[in-house]
């Protein structure tokens, strides 16, 4: 099996039914997707599979053989943050930070789909399956709204 993760190709040796989350974290040592619940409930393991947000904990790696995967690490580094990463930082949308990988990845898919300013309801819909227990939802929504207004339409 092969995966392209954040632009780099990898040959995968894990068993076919291994969760994509485990392949990313343990075989490839890409650790931003977190094992928050490992039952699809919390959203912090979310990655983009060919541009679509997916729960990597419930995705058997064989079902995404050949796909292009994007994790939070692939969206931008400290010197080259995406508008969403910058907005999350500037709006204090990350407190403990454990939900942030899933939040930013899912919001990235939303912004790419809409391609311009998004409203609050779109964000609530896109991030509805993501838990934040530090209760940062207001700042998270504010950050996504702000970022959507900096992306060239």
């Amino acid at each position: 099996m092969n995966l392209t993760v954040n632009g780099r190709e990898h040959e995968i040796t894990s068993a076919p039914l291994t969760p994509l989350l485990h392949v990313l974290r343990e075989e490839l040592e890409i650790t931003s997707p977190k094992a928050g619940c490992q039952q699809g409930g919390c959203g912090t393991c979310t990655v983009l599979v060919d541009g679509e947000p997916r729960r990597s904990c419930l995705t058997a790696v064989a079902t995404v053989d050949g796909a292009s995967i994007t994790t939070l690490e692939g969206l931008g580094e400290a010197e080259s943050m995406s508008p969403l990463q910058t907005a999350f930082h500037e709006h204090y949308a990350a407190q403990c930070g454990f939900c942030t990988p899933g939040m930013v990845v899912a919001a990235t898919a939303l912004l790419e789909r809409v391609g311009g300013p998004v409203d609050r309801d779109d964000i609530l819909d896109a991030l509805g399956g993501h838990y934040c227990r530090c209760t940062g939802y207001v700042k998270i929504v504010d950050a996504v709204m702000a970022a959507s207004r900096t992306v060239p339409a």
Binding site: R25, T31, F88, H89, A94, C96, T100, C134
Partner: protein, 456 residues
């Protein structure tokens, strides 16, 4: 003072938004074993048989620990304050809550570790379980704890008590007695990061422990006590916590990881599942709080009697400390000259309880504020005005003898009224936190006042 009033960027913000922040589960130290635990399926039972030999023989298993492997198995979170220990790290002969750890395995994978847990031979004799803190006080209730069903180590008493003024006189003088019962329930803190630890034996004989604890040096002491090693044999690495909210104050995964690392001589990691987090990680306590206020028709609270039962779960941990904080706050932000408070730490077969966002305080604040609304309704007085009248002022004395130097109740209450658009009479609108005089200093509040100018 550039920082005061400024919106500074979070020092860890860039790491969080770029995925570079390393939580315990993200640390990589080379080959690492995985841990799984055998946990009690019973709320209360004798363990009549425990045999790990078949499990130890399984492929991929490197170490199994039970109570027999712990240098000092029984420890207490309050031993530093002179309270004897009561909780085994690994259950020895009996289990007192569902999810209590009995044995733990370090193996090549989580699957191999779980297979070994399943292969441990164990037998139980279930006992009647107790979940209701009021029933725990019945004479014929099953005895849950070796100390009885009530924690006995508050000096000469088996409960935290506050006594101030003359409570009987206050109740004799009252126009009305207003009673209420409040029962805030247990809550799981549910941080996004479950309990996790990584323990690494170093070449120099030390053990490095990567911990998600909220209380680093406390956890270090707990691990050192169980292992009977000096602190200089332990190196703790922490500070990056994926949410805690009080649920990572008690030492959860560190000690068992440390034991398994020493026994297997390899790095071991224990990451609890979400199910384990709900089953076996400590919660906020449940409470039973009874309040009776002796009040006058014009809205003065002359006295308060309070009985609190705090559900400690199966072991004491920090509950006695939580009840002490609860006691300090039982008169709320208000001055009541006559107080009689009894707070009991009660043992049940629930998971041991601990801190959560205002340890012991939120429960009693909920009870006090709800009760004040009840008092206002009974007296037909505006609840804001009742609070403003009885609010702490400079020179007032709290239940535990602290004289108020700079109380903020009046200012905060007025600001809150403003925010939600509450109209107040002008005499209330003009109130301040300054010393009581005139109509705000009725006879029953004179004696409790500190002399003019005092305050500490």
């Amino acid at each position: 003072m550039k920082a005061v009033g400024a919106r500074l960027p979070r020092y860890d913000g860039v790491g969080h938004v770029t995925g570079r922040t390393q939580y315990v589960d993200d640390i990589r130290v080379g080959r690492t074993l995985w841990v799984k635990a055998l946990r009690s399926p019973h709320d209360n039972a004798a363990v009549t048989r425990l045999d790990t030999s078949k499990a130890e023989a399984l492929k991929g298993v490197h170490a199994i620990v039970t109570h027999a492997d712990v240098p000092r198995n029984v420890y207490g979170h309050l031993e530093g304050l002179g309270v004897p220990g009561d909780e085994p790290l690994l259950a020895d002969g009996e289990v007192r809550y569902k999810g209590q750890p009995i044995a733990a395995v370090a193996a090549d994978s989580e699957e191999a570790a779980q297979a070994a847990v399943d292969a441990i031979e164990i037998a139980y004799e279930p006992r009647p379980a107790l979940f209701d803190i009021r029933q725990a006080l019945d004479p014929d209730a099953p005895k849950i704890h070796q100390w009885g069903n009530v924690y006995p180590h508050y000096g000469p008493f088996n409960h935290r008590r506050v006594r101030k003024g003359d409570i009987d006189a206050a109740f004799d003088q009252a126009d009305t007695i207003v009673e209420g019962v409040y029962r805030p329930q247990a809550i799981e803190q549910m941080p996004m990061e479950t309990q996790v630890a990584l323990a690494v034996p170093e070449a120099n004989g030390r053990l490095t422990i990567y911990s998600c604890t909220q209380a680093m040096y406390f956890s270090m002491g707990v691990v050192a006590a169980h292992l009977e090693v000096p602190l200089n044999k332990l190196k703790f690495v922490g500070g990056t916590v994926g949410g805690g909210f009080g649920g990572k104050v008690d030492t959860a995964a560190d000690t068992i990881c440390a034991l398994l690392a020493l026994k297997s001589r390899q790095a071991v990691k224990w990451r609890w599942t979400r199910e384990e987090e709900f089953l076996a990680s400590s919660t906020r306590a449940a409470w039973h709080i009874e309040i009776a206020d002796a009040v006058t028709k014009d809205g003065w609270i002359l006295g308060r009697r309070t009985l609190t039962l705090h559900d400690s779960g199966a072991y004491a941990r920090f509950s006695p400390y939580g009840v002490t904080k609860h006691a300090f706050h039982h008169s709320g932000a208000y001055t009541i000259p006559n107080l009689h408070f009894d707070g009991f730490v009660v043992f049940t077969n629930r998971v041991p309880s601990t801190a959560m966002r205002g340890f012991g305080v939120t429960s009693v604040s909920f009870a006090v504020e709800t009760h004040l609304n009840r008092v206002a309704a009974v007296l037909g007085i505006d609840p804001w005005e009742l609070r403003l009248k009885n609010a702490n002022r400079v020179g007032d004395t709290s239940g535990n003898g602290v004289t108020m130097a700079d109380p903020s109740t009046v200012d905060v209450t007025l600001a809150a009224a403003d925010r939600v658009g509450i109209e107040l009479g002008s005499e209330y609108r003009r109130m301040t936190s300054g010393r009581r005089t005139g109509a705000l200093l009725p006879e029953h509040l004179v004696a409790q006042q500190a002399a003019d100018g005092e305050g500490h």
